[in-house]
């Protein structure tokens, strides 16, 4: 009975985190982008510096009509937002937040779990792109697939480097084995992982699958109302998951001063610092072209990831 209650409680907490933190990141994006561009951003909704802007947006989206194009493949078109969103909710279950079992569910192959399930989210974009019966959507879908195929490999190789260093693929096990000098040791892998993750989330500067100024938001062109909002939510949930994972794998997660009591705060701080970087990159860099993107993946990220893997192996052999 106690365990069932505890499991339920954990699920509720994860659901709340899943619903709140992406909105916080979204609001941060509004404000940070605005200030970087010499604007103020939302100022009225909710009173204090427009804090309730995204709540208002949500209400607006819920009121809009839910349109399915006449030629679209109805069922797949309607299913796609759920396929895009749910994997990120599942991933959150396995990410350790603090020491001493502060994790939704400690999985034996946690690293594999999160990478595998994150990969499913892309199927949502592919389904949306194909089922919309719109050439811009189809282009977006094709670009999504091409991008995923190019960036999945460096991401996995970088994650494998951390797993090698820790000698385990359990995320809590990796946290337990962490030492501060892992940060400089794995820094190249961290760069590769974070960059490839950005590409997988289709965030600028890797956002040609959704390039609004050339293919009108790609796979999401035909979506309106709540379903469109779900796609947006999945993007911000993706940022949350990517930043949390990068901080757990490469920045030591809950390790820091007073980790015993304030571990969860460290995880949160590192995650939000990375989320800030994601927003910063969006404001700073122009969009890459398709061929530049592919060249970057195959000629820069994969060699770097392989070099990191070799370095990890050498150091591991030397110190053991």
């Amino acid at each position: 009975m106690i365990t069932a209650l505890e499991a339920l409680l954990r699920c509720v907490v994860i659901l709340v985190v899943f619903l709140v933190l992406p909105l916080v990141i979204g609001q941060t994006e509004h404000k940070v982008m605005a200030h970087m561009q010499g604007r103020l951003g939302p100022m009225y909704a909710g009173g204090f510096h427009g804090w309730a802007q995204l709540v208002a947006d949500g209400v607006k989206f819920a009121q809009k009509e839910d349109i399915v194009p006449a030629d679209a493949d109805r069922r797949i078109f309607q299913l796609a937002p759920a396929v895009a969103l749910l994997p990120y909710l599942l991933v959150l279950v396995a990410i350790p937040v603090g020491p001493g079992g502060f994790v939704g569910q400690d999985l034996d192959a946690g690293l594999f779990f999160v990478l595998a399930v994150m990969g499913i989210g892309v199927l949502g974009s592919l389904m949306a792109g194909w089922a919309s019966a719109n050439k811009f959507s189809l282009l977006g879908g094709i670009r999504t697939a091409a991008q995923l195929l190019a960036y999945e490999l460096p991401m996995l190789l970088a994650a494998a480097s951390v797993a090698m260093a820790a000698g385990t693929v359990s995320l809590t096990g990796i946290m337990g084995a962490f030492h501060w000098w892992w940060v400089p040791w794995q820094i190249v892998g961290g760069f590769v992982f974070f960059t490839a993750g950005l590409a997988e989330l289709q965030r600028p500067p890797f956002d040609m699958p959704v390039a609004d100024s050339e293919i009108i938001f790609g796979a999401y062109t035909e979506y309106t109302g709540l379903r469109f909002a779900l796609f947006l939510l999945s993007e911000y949930a993706g940022i949350l998951v990517l930043c949390a994972l990068t901080s757990v794998l490469f920045l030591g997660g809950w390790h820091g001063p007073l980790a015993g009591d304030l571990g969860w705060l460290w995880t949160l701080l590192k995650t939000f610092a990375l989320a800030f970087v994601v927003i910063w990159l969006r404001v700073t860099y122009p969009r890459l072209r398709e061929d530049q993107l592919m060249r970057f993946a195959w000629t820069v990220l994969i060699p770097l990831a392989l070099a990191q893997l070799a370095l990890t192996g050498i150091v591991k052999v030397v110190i053991s």
Binding site: L115, W130, I142, A146, L149
Partner: protein, 182 residues
Amino acid sequence: MTGTLSSQGHSFLTPGGVEIVFVLVGLAVLGAALLTVTTRQLVHAALWLVVALGGLAIEYLLLTAEFIAWVQVLIYLGSVVVLVLFGLMLTKAPIGASPDADSGNRWVALGVAVVAAATLVTLVVDAFRCTWIDLTAGGGSTRADGTMLFRYWVLPFEALSVLLLAALVGAVVISRRHREER
């Protein structure tokens, strides 16, 4: 597998909860697989394949093979199906039925499928008969799998990796030659 083998003290006619779920998921996988080959819409076939392969991952989980289950999701759902969908979108995948993709060999294919399935089912049933494998939690953990793979099955593993490398090099060679011919 690390479970103990015995046929004593277990009845196949009084299944527990896990076995019932296993059979139900198995039926769902079978249904999805049938729909994959019978649906008239190409992309629907790929998406039913997602359901079938995902169901297989659940079956692995029910057999405590956690590592294999996630590898199944990572490789098949995350990569192979995306590759299939990518190929379909690049070629011709209209919304609605695609009658030109129907094959005249479907009855031969059905025959081959039935024979192959019958062979495999007979083989597995004959090999295990009434053997009961007690599943213990962690029996298919990453550590157990890794120990098994790299202690007893290193040679096949290495042979497979050389084979994959050869395929990779072959793919590069083939794609390069085509470019020079143009």
